[in-house]
């Protein structure tokens, strides 16, 4: 199977088209006699190419929301449309294909397999897809180069730094050219320098590859560097804000409002960093 054929078999929706639609999403956990609502009548549309942060206090339903989007959990009511497919209507034994082909997961604890090297970890999601071993190898090497790990393909996780491990995990999440990257506290286990690096990497992927990213985070500074911040409260979206990444995408300096170019890290007019990373991280 050629690379082109593969991509057409699993196309990423064009920018601006909805890639995720949540309709009246309700999830209720039953604890003894009490019904505990985790999500109640939540509606959300995420378009292809968006970089979204989901924030909220503990117990606000962040994790539940991410699990439902990731087809790990089923909603009590409502619909989850992924790239036009109603995931809630699919039986359990079909959902793994959605996870494999439409989703890329990034975890707080990286979750790399310790006995596989970086490249083999990246190849893992491709195993069920019928790609040849050499195709897998080539794609994995390309992805590792994209996340800045050229030459470290043969290293096992324990020989990589925390930041490098998360880069491998990001490359793994991208392996099957997914419609959505789901990141659960991707910077939660990283020091501030690595945090910056990972957020910049995600932001760059979003800018240059048009990857749709939904990131759950506690870290308000990380969240501010996304495009769209959603504040979750009592199972609903309580507030929505624009992040700094939106300015960059719109090619406007967040500090002085002058025009900038996408490749610019520093505003040519006011000379301030576009991501304001120094004061944000």
């Amino acid at each position: 199977m050629s690379k082109t054929a593969l991509q057409s078999a699993n196309p990423v929706p064009p920018p601006g088209k909805p890639v995720l639609q949540l309709e009246n999403l309700t999830k209720t956990y039953t604890l003894g006699k009490h019904d505990v609502p985790a999500l109640s009548n939540l509606n959300l549309t995420v378009n292809a190419g968006e970089f979204v942060a989901i924030m909220g206090p503990s117990g606000s339903g962040k994790t539940t929301l991410l699990n439902v989007i990731g087809c790990i959990d089923k909603p009590t009511k409502g619909k989850v449309l992924l790239d036009g497919i109603d995931a809630t209507a699919l039986p359990e034994n079909q959902l793994y294909k959605i996870r494999r082909d439409k989703m890329g997961f990034i975890f707080q604890t990286f979750n790399l397999l310790p006995y596989l090297n970086a490249r083999e970890n990246v190849e893992l999601p491709m195993e069920g897809q019928g790609k040849s071993k050499s195709e897998q190898k080539q794609r994995a090497s390309e992805l590792l180069a994209m996340v800045g790990l050229s030459g470290r393909e043969e290293h096992r996780p324990q020989r990589l730094s925390a930041g490098e491990q998360q880069r491998v995990a990001i490359a793994r999440a991208l392996a099957n050219n997914p419609a959505i990257i789901l990141a659960d506290e991707p910077t939660g286990n990283l020091d501030s320098q690595n945090k910056q690096g990972i957020i910049k990497l995600l932001a760059n992927l979003n800018l240059t590859q048009g990857t749709t990213i939904i990131m759950v985070t506690h870290d308000s500074q990380a969240a501010r560097n996304t495009e769209r911040m959603l504040l979750l409260k009592d199972g609903k979206i309580a507030k929505e804000m624009q992040g700094l990444h939106a300015n960059k995408k719109n090619q406007i300096c967040p500090h002085c409002g002058s025009r900038i170019q996408i490749k610019d890290e520093i505003c040519p007019a006011c000379k301030k960093p576009v991501y304001a990373s120094d004061d944000l991280f």
Partner: protein, 462 residues
């Protein structure tokens, strides 16, 4: 674990070897009971001073069997050759069955039996002498081996009186089944009656002459032995035998015939009173001794079979325990592995592995674990199976089979309490099969558990 079936097979082999040895002996003893009721055998108790055909001055190099049962006393007193140590010792040989050497008797000392006792119909003196070679041989018995020395009898000379009585006692003192030529006749001298084995040994047929201890004899006939114990026996006139073996005036046994069978026990006790040094054996004694021997063999056979059965039931118990233990070990090891790798399993499922792939993965790991264990186990078994089987299984012992006509002189042919377990290719295959089966059974539940792990757990796992 592989050692257990290996041990079972070894024990079964031993038991079968013992059974086949014993069965053939039992058949032979049965054949020898057919004797004349009026016959009384008299001989000196055999000594054990040496074997082979090196006659001391005035003596002979004859030998007789020891009795079964380990006494080695040589007291069975059967007519030599009918139950000779050369045969029984050979078949079920060992230190316990060493034959003894019959002491030569001065013929003239015993003329009073015929002259003074009433009711005696005839006294037939017999001289028996064996010619053979000492052979050192390696005995192999179910994988155990040792070196013993045997006397391999090439032929046994039986000198019988060819007097006018011969017609009356022909069947008692000469073979009955002459297949070529004719039997010995009254007064024959320089003639010999060969067994079929003798004929083959000398390469001589009827009318040919054979060289026996430097003297030439003419073959008058060839007979077919009625039992294995007769196979090496050649018959000639007593006086010829005495001359050729340099034993003039000496015999090795007297066969006394009573006029009627009712007098046998009286005559026997009178002979004992006259000559206390003689071992006197009547048909009754022979029958008792034979039936004792027979029951001895039968008991031994039953013991061998019983211990073989014991082996099987012990082995089954042990195998059940081992199989259960192995399955449980695989089960717990795999359950622990699944628990330890919850995060990994959750991750795999989150990135798109199906439940069946995950389950298959863990089944494969469990089976692989078992195959490795199987390889190690078989490697250990190759080296340690004999030792392990000895500890795990009750032993079966028995006597090694010697060639017909070989008598143990030193060493023992009896192997006791042995089961040399060796791994056959079939057992190795069986071992692998069982290992894979147990691995599969033990992995089923853990693999199912792994498949049921929710990917969300990978998200939460710290």
């Amino acid at each position: 674990m592989i050692s257990i079936p290996a041990g079972v097979l070894a024990n079964e082999k031993t038991a079968n070897a013992v059974a086949s040895n014993l069965s053939s002996i039992i058949n032979q003893t049965g054949a020898t009971i057919n004797q004349t009721l009026t016959q009384i055998d008299c001989s000196l108790a055999p000594s054990f001073s040496g074997f082979g055909f090196t006659p001391p001055s005035g003596g002979t190099g004859t030998y007789r069997s020891g009795g079964y049962g380990g006494s080695g006393s040589g007291s069975s007193g059967f007519t030599p050759g009918q139950f000779g140590g050369g045969t029984v010792g050979g078949y079920f040989g060992g230190g316990a069955f060493n034959g003894g050497q019959a002491n030569p008797m001065n013929e003239t000392l015993y003329s009073d039996i015929n002259n003074t006792l009433s009711g005696v119909a005839a006294v037939e003196p017999v001289l028996q002498a064996s010619e053979g070679n000492n052979v050192t041989r390696n005995l192999d018995f179910n994988g155990y081996s040792r070196t013993i020395t045997t006397l391999d009898v090439t032929y046994t000379i039986e000198g019988v009186p060819l007097t006018s009585d011969l017609a009356n006692y022909m069947n008692e003192i000469l073979p009955t089944n002459v297949t070529a030529g004719s039997n010995l006749q009254v007064g024959n001298s320089g003639d010999v009656l060969l067994s079929e084995n003798n004929s083959a040994y000398f390469g001589a047929g009827v009318g040919d002459s054979v060289n026996i201890l430097g003297q030439s004899f003419t073959v008058v006939g060839i007979y077919s032995p009625s039992s294995v114990s007769d196979t090496q026996m050649l018959y000639m006139n007593l006086s010829d035998a005495q001359a050729v073996t340099n034993n003039t005036g000496y015999i090795t046994s007297l066969t006394v015939f009573a006029q009627n069978s009712g007098d046998v026990s009286t005559i026997a006790s009178e002979i004992s009173a006259l000559h206390p040094e003689l071992t006197v054996t009547t048909a009754q004694d022979r029958e008792t001794a034979l039936s004792n021997e027979e029951s001895g063999y039968t008991t031994e056979l039953a013991n061998a079979k019983a211990s073989d059965n014991q082996t099987n039931s012990t082995a089954i118990e042990e195998i059940v325990v081992v199989v259960l233990a192995t399955s449980l070990i695989v089960l717990f090891v795999m359950l622990y592995t699944v628990k330890e790798r919850t995060k990994e399993i959750g991750t795999l499922k989150a990135i798109g592995f199906s439940n069946s792939t995950v389950m298959g993965q863990f089944m494969l790991e469990g089976i692989l674990l078992s195959v490795i264990a199987g390889v190690v186990g078989i490697a250990i078994g190759m080296v340690a199976a004999p030792t392990i089987a000895q500890y795990l299984l009750p032993p079966v012992g028995g006597g090694a089979r010697l060639p017909t006509g070989a008598v143990v002189i030193s060493g023992t042919a009896r192997f006791g309490g042995l089961a040399v377990a060796t791994l056959t290719p079939e057992l190795v295959l069986l071992g692998f099969g069982v290992a894979i089966l147990l691995g599969t059974i033990g992995s089923l539940y853990p693999a199912w558990r792994a498949a049921k792990i929710r990917p969300a757990e990978a998200m939460r796992y710290e």
